[in-house]
Each structure stands twice: as structure tokens, then as C-alpha cells.
């Protein structure tokens, strides 16, 4: 079969610029073949090459005492002690989920799970950070329904519990939902595996499902914005098979217990192409593959199609020469293909053969290490000043603060998400000590007395209003959520969802947000261990809020430190760590009650944040903290209300008074940072105050728990509501919104 001749049209259709094409010619010393053009096109796509983000990502701190593996491998690795390591990473599947929500989300789950077990870790937990447009729109309900069903359908069946995450809503996500999935695995420190092709002459195995035509150019699709024709892209979305993946997990983990394996990598974006050349690149070797040997489920596939297919549930591995039999026997037991498709070579070339015919011969270094890197122009948008302008004198004071509280509790971003997470198996493996719905998820670490906390956060509205501050807050809030759960923040993985990077204002948002995140990661000593960048989140020229999602991993020194937001009994004292300022910019309140996305996000002092976190953690470790809850969306009033109603089987009221002067809406619903709500027995108040004094953190006594009412008074306002009414607003909202239409 002859390949098409390369024309300008074909080059353009592969999303390569003229300069990039010239670079290809320089690397090869000749014009590329059609297969080679396809390979360059996917490897140099934004999705695979990080060509626009690299220069900025390099400014993030990536090392620390606990970090065993930073960015650059399939996932980050953190030392948990006792010979155990946490392997974790977050990845986006936004574009496929918009085109085909069920399969897009399902294969997002499958893909990130492979990134984790490929390193030798058993995947034990998934979290998702989701963003949708308003549910009044039927299309958004369809997208959310499909995404949740896809996560549920794949995650449950593959046997990895979905233990938490978050769901938020804003208009900007209507044409571009976000589906970011984080997976955590546990591995023995001395049995970690890497995606490296080592040992000249070693066999290269293809294992897992067979190859079809699905997902060809998926990586390229993820590197473009959407237009009215996006629906036609449905064939570039892959179809997942969780059963096959479950078998693949078990077979790979079994193989890893033998001595047969040299290196392994999943076939994700850009499939066989990306896995083989990245393994060769990391190993400093070459690799030769005969596409004719690749197991297929469709006839007549060209080498180009085989190399670019993104069929799911496949892995590439390099085994020790002579150990072929071990690999084949294990995979046969699980009814999975395991075929030698090539060899590791010494020539540093990625050679693709179709039988005897050479279809591609590319220097690995040129393809991977010398991929284009762009420092794209960045420019502060002209409208930035305008959106940051907020004159509170023009915002009318609420007539009834209780009504505002009920509206905020019912706002889908704040409302109870049980209707979502009850569709996920969140208990498998018997580790879930604190499940979905709390500030962070807490998992026990079997075989030790410790635990792991995980939180995902990223307020796109803050980042839109001030990317640098928003980036800082994303890290700080995630850290706070891990701390209020009883853990010390250790490291993050991040997923950076932005618009079209060739637009200078988008690039400015990106650069600023990364700068803010880097500052916060340094201040809080939580290095970045990896993650993913998703650009081109635009439809018809309309970009999403710049939305960096932070996945924070924390370690509980003792699982008994696990702490939840709900009050634990009547008569406890309720206190606030930190300080309330008159800040309403970027708040959920302004959005819900005044229709405004305006102002500067709350200020954040990273040194103060660090002290608040240390204070809270020390108090929790001292054993007297009964409940802890971060003040975030909806401010102090919403945090207080959530502590009353978070446990469906036990509602406990509260009576507090706020003595500060100033606007009641700012006191109640302002989203000032570095604030944590605690409850404790009165007798322990002195101990808390002593700890807080040492850390220079103000403690304000707000009131007491108990009764069946939410009573909150200030100088100029009173909220007096039955707790049941709060619960109804909060718990009833999402099911009602999803049922409409």
C-alpha cells in the first residue's frame, strides 16, 4: 500500500506549522514519510509536547525531602515511610468529554489509572474535579449526566474506588466542561517501575487490548479549540472497556512481582507512537517496531493508523531477554494479548517497519528532546482592570441574610453533591476513613498507623479575576483542606486548564497563574510532582475561566488524627482561626445574589496561611479538635451551616455571634482566605489559645454548638433558621436541578 505524497494541505491538516515542518526536515535530513509526519504531528502536539507551557512549568518547585519522583515520568512518587510510596497524578479529559461525555470521562479514568499502575503501584483511589455550565441548560445536564455515568460505569467496574473530588458550575464551562481525574496508587519503594526502554536487544511487548481505528489523532484534537463542527469529532474519542483494564491491572502487577520486567509504559495519547519513543528517549536507546505484529481488531489498518491509534487498555513493555515466556504466561491467564512487536536498539532511532518495509526512521532525540519549545507572547488583557473594579457602595445590602444563606447553600457549586458521589463505589479496599463530601478524603494506609489525605481544588473565578492570586489560592485552599482533615500537606499534582495559548492574554493568564502556584508551593513546601496541561479549552472563541486544579496529597501521622467538618456534639465551643476582612470580590455571593463576577479575589498572605495551617495541625494532633472546616465558597456562614448538616444522620445546631463591624454580607459570605472553623470542648480552649499564640494566629470565639437551630447574630443582622431548612436547601438542590426538563 502506498502512502499519500506530502503536500502543504496534508502538513496543515496535521496541525504542523511551516517552521515545525522545516524542523522535521532538518531532523530527518529529508522530507518525512506520511507515517513519520503523523508521528511528528502527535508528538509535537501541545498535548504531548507541552511546547507552550514548558518554559513556565520549569519555574515550579519539584523537589523536596519526600519526593521520590518529580515530573517527567508517568506519575509523581512520594515517600510514605515504612517502605511504601504514593504514586499519584491528575490528568484532564476535557475535550473528549465534551464530544462524547460518557466515553470521554470513562477513558479519562482508564488513562490515569494506567499511568499509576505502570509505575508498579496498585491504584487505590480516584478523585474527579468537574466543571459544567449551569444546569438550567438541558445540554449541560446531558453533559454532566454523561460524565458522571462514565466515571461511575468505568471506575466502579475497573475496581478502583472514586473516593472524592469536587463539582463546580459556571457559564464559561457550558461549551467546554472540565473533567480532571486524579489517581493514587501505593507501591513498595523498592519495586517502582519506570517507562524506560533499557537493554539492547531486549524484546518490546505489546500487551492488553487489540488495536482499532479509534482515537486516531485524539492528541491533536485535544490541541485545538472547538467550533460548530466539533460533534463530527466523535470518532476521535475512544471507547473504554473497564473489564479489560481490570485484567490489565492484575496482569501487570503480577508481572511486576517477577524479575522479567525492564520498563513499562501505558499507551495513552498518541498510543504506540508516544509510548515507544518516550521509553526509548528515557532509556537513551532506540526502538524498532513491526506494526504487522500488532494485534488488531480491524482489517486493513495502515501503519500510520496503527501507530496513531488511541485504542484503550494497552501497554508497551520491555522485558528481559529470555523472560518472554513469563510475560506470555501471565497475560494468557488473563486472556490478554502479549506479543513481541519489536526490540530495543542501540542506534537511537525509532524505526517502524511494516514487515520488511521501513515506514519511519526518526532520531528519538530529535522527536522527543528537540521538540519545539515556545515562549509565546503574553499580554495582560485590556479588560483585566475592568473586571477587577468593584465598588461595594454600589452593592445593596441584603434585606434578609437568612434568605441569602439558603440561596447560597442551594447554589449548585456549594450544594451537597451526594447525588453524584453515591453513584461511585467510594468504599472499595476498605481504606475510606473519611469519604466524599468532607474537606478532603482520608484513607488509611494499611500496614501502618498513618493515613493519606487528598483534596482537589481550583476556583476558576479567582484565577480569572487575578491569575497570580488565584493560582496561590488554589494551592493554599487545597493545603487547608488537607490540614483540616488532619494531614500535613506534602506534595501536589496539578492540571492546568486554559484557553488557546496562541492568544497573548491566555498566555498571560497561564504564566501568572503558574507564578502564583509556584510561590504558594514554595511557601507551603508542597512541591509539584507532575500533572498535565490542557490548553485550547475554548468553543467558538470563548475561553473558560483559567482553571488550574490542584491535587494535594497529605500524610496523617496517625489515622486517629482524621477530622471532619461536622459538629460532634452539643455544647462545644466554636472558634475561628484567622481573620475576617471586608472582602467580597469574586465571591459566590456576588455571583449568586448580584450576578457579578467582579472585583479582586480575596487577598492571601502565604506566610500567614502557613502559620494558620501549622496551628490547626498542631491542635488536631494534640487530640482536642472535635471538628475542623475550611471557610471557602460562601464564606463563614456557609462553613457554619455545613458543619451543622454535613452528617445526614445527625444534625446539630449552632449559636454564634459576630462582633465585627462592617457589611454583614462581607462578614457572613466574604471568602477571606486562611480561615478555619474549629469546634472543641470548652475545657480545651486554653490549649488552643496557647498553640495559636505561638504561631501568631488570632482565635475568635464565635459561639456554641447545640440545639436544632442555626442562630447567627451580628451588630446589624440576625439569621435564625431551623437546621432542617438549611439541610433541605443544601441537600435538596442538586437532585432537583438535575431532574428538571
Amino acid at each position: 500500500m502506498n502512502e499519500p505524497t506530502i503536500t502543504q494541505e496534508i502538513i496543515a491538516a496535521h496541525n504542523l506549522t511551516r517552521e515545525e515542518h522545516d524542523q522535521v526536515v532538518a531532523i530527518l535530513g529529508r522530507e518525512p514519510t506520511y507515517t513519520e509526519l503523523g508521528i511528528f504531528s502527535v508528538m509535537w502536539s501541545e498535548h504531548c509536547s507541552y511546547k507552550s507551557s514548558k518554559v513556565h512549568l520549569q519555574t515550579l518547585p519539584t523537589s523536596g525531602a519526600a519526593v521520590l519522583q518529580g515530573p517527567g515520568e508517568n506519575a509523581g512518587v512520594v515517600d510514605l515511610g515504612d517502605g511504601l510510596a504514593a504514586v499519584f497524578k491528575v490528568e484532564s479529559h476535557n475535550h473528549p468529554s465534551f464530544i462524547e461525555p460518557y466515553q470521554g470521562a470513562a477513558t479519562g479514568v482508564g488513562g490515569i489509572i494506567r499511568d499509576i499502575f505502570t509505575m508498579g503501584a496498585r491504584p487505590i483511589a480516584l478523585l474527579d474535579s468537574l466543571r459544567f455550565g449551569p444546569l438550567a441548560d438541558a445540554r449541560n445536564r446531558y453533559l454532566m449526566g454523561g460524565v458522571v455515568a462514565g466515571i461511575s460505569g468505568y471506575g466502579n467496574a475497573v475496581g478502583v474506588p472514586t473516593v472524592g473530588g469536587e463539582v463546580c458550575f459556571a457559564e464559561c464551562y457550558s461549551g467546554n466542561p472540565l473533567v480532571n481525574v486524579l489517581c493514587l496508587g501505593i507501591a513498595p519503594v523498592d519495586k517502582l517501575f519506570y517507562g524506560r526502554a533499557g537493554g539492547i536487544g531486549n524484546p518490546v511487548f505489546y500487551v492488553g487490548a487489540k488495536t482499532g481505528r479509534d482515537g486516531i489523532h485524539g492528541a491533536t484534537m485535544a490541541s485545538e479549540t472547538f467550533d460548530e463542527k466539533s460533534e463530527e469529532r466523535r470518532p476521535t474519542v475512544q471507547v473504554g472497556d473497564p473489564f479489560r483494564e481490570k485484567l490489565l491491572i492484575e496482569a501487570c502487577l503480577e508481572l511486576m512481582r517477577t524479575d522479567a520486567l525492564v520498563g513499562i509504559q501505558d499507551m495513552g495519547a498518541a498510543g504506540l507512537t508516544c509510548s515507544s519513543c518516550e521509553m526509548a528517549s528515557r532509556g537513551g536507546t532506540g526502538v524498532e517496531i513491526d506494526v504487522r505484529l500488532v494485534p488488531r481488531r480491524e482489517e486493513g489498518m495502515t501503519p500510520y493508523e496503527v501507530m496513531l491509534s488511541e485504542s484503550q487498555e494497552r501497554m508497551l513493555l520491555v522485558a528481559r531477554e529470555g523472560a518472554e515466556r513469563i510475560v506470555q504466561e501471565i497475560f494468557a491467564r488473563y486472556d490478554l494479548d502479549a506479543v513481541v512487536v519489536g526490540r530495543v536498539t542501540a542506534d537511537g532511532l525509532m524505526r517502524v517497519r511494516d514487515g520488511t518495509r521501513v515506514m519511519a526512521e526518526i532520531p528519538v532525540k530529535g522527536l522527543v528532546a528537540n521538540a519545539p519549545v515556545y515562549r509565546r507572547p503574553a499580554l495582560r488583557p485590556a479588560w483585566q482592570d475592568e473586571v477587577q473594579y468593584l465598588d461595594l457602595h454600589h452593592i445593596p445590602l441584603p434585606r434578609d441574610c437568612g434568605e441569602v444563606l439558603l440561596r447560597l447553600l442551594a447554589s449548585p457549586t456549594i450544594a451537597c453533591k451526594a447525588t453524584v458521589w453515591e453513584r461511585y463505589d467510594h468504599m472499595l479496599f476498605l481504606n475510606t476513613v473519611v469519604g466524599p463530601g468532607a474537606d478532603a478524603v482520608v484513607l488509611r494506609l494499611k500496614g501502618t498507623e498513618r493515613g493519606i489525605a487528598l483534596a482537589m481544588d481550583g476556583n476558576g473565578r479567582y484565577v480569572f479575576l487575578d491569575p497570580r492570586v488565584g493560582g496561590m489560592i488554589a494551592v493554599a485552599e487545597a493545603a487547608r483542606n488537607v490540614v483540616t482533615s488532619g494531614a500535613e500537606p506534602v506534595a501536589i499534582t496539578n492540571c492546568l486548564n486554559f484557553g488557546d495559548p496562541t492568544r497573548p492574554e491566555i498566555m498571560w493568564q497561564f504564566a501568572e497563574a503558574v507564578r502564583g502556584m509556584a510561590e504558594a508551593c514554595r511557601a507551603l513546601q508542597t512541591p509539584v510532582t507532575g500533572g498535565n496541561v490542557s490548553f485550547y479549552n475554548e468553543t467558538m472563541g470563548q475561553a473558560i475561566f483559567p482553571t488550574p486544579i490542584v491535587g494535594m496529597l497529605g500524610i496523617l501521622a496517625h489515622i486517629d488524627h482524621a477530622t471532619t467538618p461536622g459538629w460532634k456534639g452539643a455544647g462545644d465551643v466554636v472558634v475561628l482561626l484567622g481573620q475576617t476582612r471586608e472582602e467580597l470580590g469574586g465571591s459566590e455571593y456576588l455571583k449568586v445574589c448580584h450576578g457579578l463576577i467582579q472585583g479582586r479575589p480575596p487577598t492571601i498572605d502565604l506566610d500567614f496561611e502557613r502559620r494558620v495551617l501549622q496551628c490547626c495541625l498542631e491542635a488536631i494532633r494534640a487530640g482536642f479538635v472535635r471538628s475542623a472546616h475550611d471557610c471557602s465558597d460562601g464564606g463563614l456562614a456557609v462553613a457554619l451551616a455545613e458543619s451543622c448538616i454535613s452528617d445526614p444522620e445527625r444534625h446539630i445546631g449552632v449559636e454564634v455571634s459576630l462582633s465585627e463591624t462592617g457589611r454583614p454580607d462581607a462578614l457572613l459570605f466574604g471568602e477571606g482566605q486562611s480561615r478555619i472553623l474549629l469546634s472543641l470542648r470548652e475545657a480545651d480552649l486554653g490549649r488552643l489559645e496557647a498553640i495559636a499564640l505561638r504561631h501568631g494566629v488570632p482565635v475568635t470565639i464565635l459561639g456554641r454548638t447545640g440545639g436544632s437551630r442555626f442562630l447567627c447574630t451580628g451588630r446589624t443582622f440576625t439569621i435564625n433558621l431551623p437546621v432542617a431548612a438549611l439541610d433541605q436547601a443544601w441537600r435538596g438542590s442538586l437532585p432537583t436541578l438535575l431532574r428538571q426538563g
Binding site: 481490570k246 453515591e422 453513584r423 463505589d425 472499595l428 476498605l430
Partner: protein
């Protein structure tokens, strides 16, 4: 006691069952791959939760043809104790070892949460450690948990005391509101006439440690340990 946990391709609760039996209860629990044809020296078999063979076609429909199932049937005929949890219950129904079927939840959605079930019969090897009418707090985790049987079968189940667990309120009332999936008569678990095979949709192994929020599921395993020795082929 020695438990055998049957592992089908796609099962996923086998390690959890093993954890509870070994670490919490100090029993021996071996994993048995579905191609095994002989089942010897086990005092109780467990068919764990998960998605056996991907639950493709219909839950449990392919698993019943796994090679191990012939041996499981013989084991049941010999009076051995078999506990089917969730997907294991579905497999036992498909295999004809328990009557009835498990249909899709009325909500048409997967449900994972804690529910309450009332113990209807304590005169079985699986419930001797329970009090009559005791309410257990255990999680469910399924998409197809709506128990269905034809009226005649249902009548017999009720008459012969084969309904072992019903969904109930925390106070023990079997209301519609307490029924999470639309099961007939709030049925959450049943046994065969001989009372050596029990299937239930809730996961007792997920309610076996206070750290995880409930210990009432332990009662099932403790009952088996208590009464298992007498009933199992090995000790008979």
C-alpha cells in the same frame, strides 16, 4: 476456619473479604481463581462483589459458566456454607443456587451508600450471632440489586423463613423509603431452603471495622465462624 474466596476475572472485593477474615477475625482465607475445578478442605466459600467477567450480557450470566462453578454447585449439594455478596449473590441466582433474580435498581443508577437492614431469621449459620429483628448498618454498592421473584417463589421464601435481610429504617421499619433499589418486599438477602447458601446485596465486609464507620457486618462472619465448623463438610 478456612475460607475460600472465589475470584472471577473482574471480581474486586476478594481482597477486602480476605482482609476482614484474616486481619479482623484471625481466620484463614485463600483466593481461588475461577478456573479451579476442585474445592477441597474449605469450611466456607465466599463469592465476593465486583464485576465478574465484566458483568457483560447480564450480571453473573457469564460467571455461572466459569469452570469453578461446577465445584461450587457440588459444594453446595454437600451442605457446605456459601456466602454470596453483591455480585456473588447475582452469580448464585444465575447459577440457580438461590431463587429469583436481581434487576436494575428502580433509579436506574448505581448506588453506593450505607443502608439499614433488619435481620429476619437468626436460625441460619450466617446469622446466629444476630438478635432477631436486629438492625444492621451496612453499605450497598450496586447497579442491579432489585430483588425479584415470581409470586409463588416469593410466597415460599417468606413461608420457609428464607428471607434473611430486609431493607429497613434505622428503627427497623421496612418502609418504601428505606428500600434503596425497589426490591420486592424490601428483600436484601435470602438463603436456600437448606440454609447453607446465602446471598445478600449489602457488603458486610465493608462494615467490619469501627474506623470505617460500622461493625455490624462482622456479625455475619462471626456467625459463620461460630456455626461453620459443625456444618462444613470438612468437620462433619
Amino acid at each position: 476456619m478456612r475460607f475460600g474466596i472465589i475470584v472471577f476475572p473482574g471480581s474486586n472485593c476478594e481482597l477486602d473479604c480476605q482482609w476482614v477474615l484474616e486481619k479482623v477475625l484471625g481466620q484463614q482465607a485463600d483466593l481461588i481463581w475461577h478456573t479451579e475445578k476442585e474445592l477441597k478442605d474449605y469450611d466456607c466459600l465466599i463469592l465476593p462483589g465486583g464485576f465478574a467477567h465484566g458483568d457483560y450480557l447480564r450480571t453473573g450470566a457469564i460467571a455461572r459458566f466459569s469452570p469453578v462453578m461446577k465445584a461450587v454447585e457440588r459444594y453446595a449439594e454437600d451442605g457446605g456454607l456459601i456466602l454470596g455478596i453483591c455480585n456473588g449473590f447475582q452469580v448464585l441466582c444465575e447459577a440457580g443456587l438461590l431463587p429469583g433474580a436481581l434487576l436494575r435498581n428502580t433509579s436506574l443508577a448505581f448506588i453506593c451508600r450505607h443502608v439499614h437492614v433488619r435481620v429476619e431469621n437468626t436460625a441460619t449459620p450466617f446469622t446466629t450471632a444476630c438478635r432477631p429483628g436486629q438492625v444492621l448498618r451496612v453499605p450497598i454498592n450496586h447497579n442491579e440489586g432489585r430483588y425479584y421473584a415470581d409470586p409463588e417463589t416469593l410466597r415460599q421464601l417468606n413461608e420457609k423463613g428464607q428471607v434473611i435481610f430486609r431493607y429497613a429504617t434505622a428503627g427497623g421499619e421496612t418502609t418504601d423509603g428505606a428500600n434503596p433499589n425497589g426490591s420486592l418486599d424490601n428483600i436484601a438477602g435470602i438463603c436456600n431452603e437448606r440454609r447453607n447458601v446465602l446471598g445478600l446485596m449489602p457488603h458486610p465486609e465493608r462494615a467490619a471495622e469501627s474506623l470505617l464507620g460500622s461493625t455490624s457486618g462482622l456479625l455475619l462472619f462471626e456467625s459463620i465462624v461460630r456455626s461453620g465448623r459443625a456444618a462444613s463438610p470438612m468437620f462433619r
